[in-house]
């Protein structure tokens, strides 16, 4: 199953490192990263494969949300199905 991780917030050192470490520790493979800074705001969208994940989607959502909140980031994890079905026939 593929997931989409969306991260928005104030830019700072180590955001990508933190998120990718958490994904790696849980055996979640990053397939694509899109990142930029808009008006000092950090924007990143990651697509990852969690077929062999050690963590269930719900737990990962909760864990990343809390980790992000602690440093002022909004981290959202979604099943990719919603994007596929909305934008592809």
């Amino acid at each position: 199953m593929k997931i989409v991780v969306t991260i928005v917030g104030q830019d700072r050192v180590g955001i990508i490192a933190m998120v990718s470490t958490i994904l790696a520790e849980n055996n979640i493979n990053i397939l694509n990263i899109n990142q930029n800074i808009l008006d000092g705001f950090f924007n990143m969208v990651m697509i990852a494969d969690m077929t062999f994940s050690k963590m269930a989607l719900k737990d990962l959502q909760q864990f990343l949300k809390e980790k992000g909140k602690a440093i002022g980031l909004d981290i959202k994890v979604q099943h990719e199905g919603i994007f596929q079905s909305m934008h592809q026939i």
């Binding site: 969306t6 989607l57 959202k76 099943h79 079905s85 909305m86």
Partner: protein, 452 residues
């Protein structure tokens, strides 16, 4: 491969433009629950509803979390109770409504629909008992919704029932006077009712439906409004095209949720209802879409034309996005549940008569309309008759959900809270319809050729 732009677009639709799946409704047949003893019947329906819908709320919440799309309501619809309860030896179905209410509470859904009767051609004994039970049933229960279909293109209009419903609505208003006649917000009178509609208060599980089914209602007025902001100044062809494309995307989300819910619950997928269902929240209004198209205030001349185009474009866009479409499908124009409609009534641009004209070109009908408490039962019946006639002649669904608020008159406001919203009291034409309504009988079915 997913593009960044699409991901950001979807998330913006959800977060800023309030895109949501309005409701997942689990339809359950209660036809096998019949029993002459009322207490056995009530236990049968309670057991069947609670067992069948056990997982509904959890499945809804799981889908909501995994895909990041809000699913506002999880609801249940059941076989029209006048049919399911007909074999009970009783003169009231109030205990049945209480059993439905208890089952809804047990499984955690906010509404259960199906305290209903289909009487377009005439009453059975069960229909009579059910209709007489409505005022008390809606007073002593919290989550039960009731509907009556009293007209159809094939059968005409049951004017005896029209007259009776005027009185039933008045009685329901009186019994729930302490809550601004809230009971009437849970009661809809239909012509040409669809039997697979997931939206309350008119949802029930029709007799042609399977044992159980999952129906989903999508929403998204905010998303359509936002999309139209991008084509300001362009012609109406561009407006219609934009609405179509947006409706397609909205409906795809509904289709995904419906398929997932159906798979996880092991219940067949019924239909997607392609509707724009507003809420009182700012940025979630059908009236604001009409104003975006170019009207100074909803209700101004041109509103009916704009609404007709909106409704048609929503259907065209949504139709291809789903494998099965049904229900009401179109734009809802409830007054108290739509911030833009409320504002339009307050400004004086939107009247009961204009709303009636608008119902000729969109789904539902006169919906969530608060009128003076002193409005006579015959006048309410006559308003129902007008709507039923529009539905009957034009071969479409129409409905009336009208609330005569005791002790209030034009200039006052009424507050229902939550999704039901608030509204100013609308003025009603003061001239009487008593003699017309008192005649009763049945208006014959219309001719289907020589249309004009």
């Amino acid at each position: 491969m997913l593009s960044l732009q699409h991901i950001l677009e979807t998330n913006r639709m959800i977060e800023e433009n309030k895109l949501d799946v309005r409701t997942i409704t689990l339809g359950i047949s209660l036809r096998d629950c019949g029993h002459p003893d009322m207490s056995v019947f009530c236990r049968n329906i309670y057991d069947k509803i609670t067992k069948t819908a056990e997982k509904l709320v959890r499945v809804g919440e799981d889908i909501e979390a995994e895909y990041g799309i809000p699913i506002i309501n999880k609801r249940i619809s059941v076989t029209p109770m006048a049919i399911a309860a007909e074999s009970c030896r009783t003169d009231t179905y109030v205990p049945v409504a209480q059993a439905m209410d208890a089952a809804a509470k047990q499984v955690g859904v906010n509404f259960i629909g199906g305290f209903s009767a289909l009487v377009e051609k005439g009453y059975t004994n069960g229909d009579k008992i059910l209709i007489r039970s409505i005022p008390e049933a809606l007073t002593v229960t919290e989550r039960v919704c009731s509907s009556v279909n009293l007209a159809s293109t094939k059968s005409g209009i049951n004017m005896d029932c029209v007259r009776e419903m005027g009185e039933i609505i008045k009685r329901t208003a009186e019994l729930t006077a302490d809550r601004d006649a809230l009971g009437c917000a849970k009661l809809v009178v239909f012509a040409n009712v669809p039997e697979d509609n997931p939206f309350m208060a008119g949802a029930f599980h029709g007799v042609g439906e399977p044992e159980t089914t999952i129906n989903v209602g999508v929403s998204g007025p905010g998303v359509v409004k936002r999309a139209l902001e991008e084509v300001r100044g362009k012609d109406l062809g561009a407006v219609a095209e934009t609405i179509k494309k947006t409706a397609f995307k909205i409906t795809r989300v509904g289709q995904l949720v419906a398929q997932e819910a159906s798979r996880r619950m092991g219940v067949p997928f019924g239909i997607i209802d392609l509707s724009l269902a507003p809420t009182p929240a700012v940025g979630d209004s059908v009236a604001h879409i009409l104003e975006e198209i170019g009207l100074e205030s909803c209700g101004a001349p041109g509103t009916t034309a704009a609404l007709a185009m909106l409704n048609d474009a929503v259907k065209k866009g949504g139709l291809m996005a789903s494998s099965y479409v049904g229900g009401l499908s179109g734009a809802f124009i409830p007054v108290s549940e739509d911030a833009g409609m409320i504002a339009a009534v307050e400004r004086g641009s939107l009247t009961l008569e204009k709303l009636e004209a608008m119902t000729c070109v969109c789904s539902v009908g006169l919906d969530m309309i608060a009128v003076p408490g002193a409005t006579p039962a015959a006048t309410i019946a006559a308003i129902i008759a007008d709507e039923a006639a529009i539905g009957m002649i034009n071969n479409k669904t129409t409905a009336v959900r009208i609330i005569p608020v005791p002790g209030k008159s034009v200039g006052d406001r009424v507050e229902f809270g939550g999704l039901l919203g608030h509204s100013p009291i609308l003025a009603v034409n003061p001239f009487g319809s008593g003699t017309f309504i008192a005649r009763g009988g049945r208006i014959p079915a219309p001719i289907r050729s020589l249309t004009n």
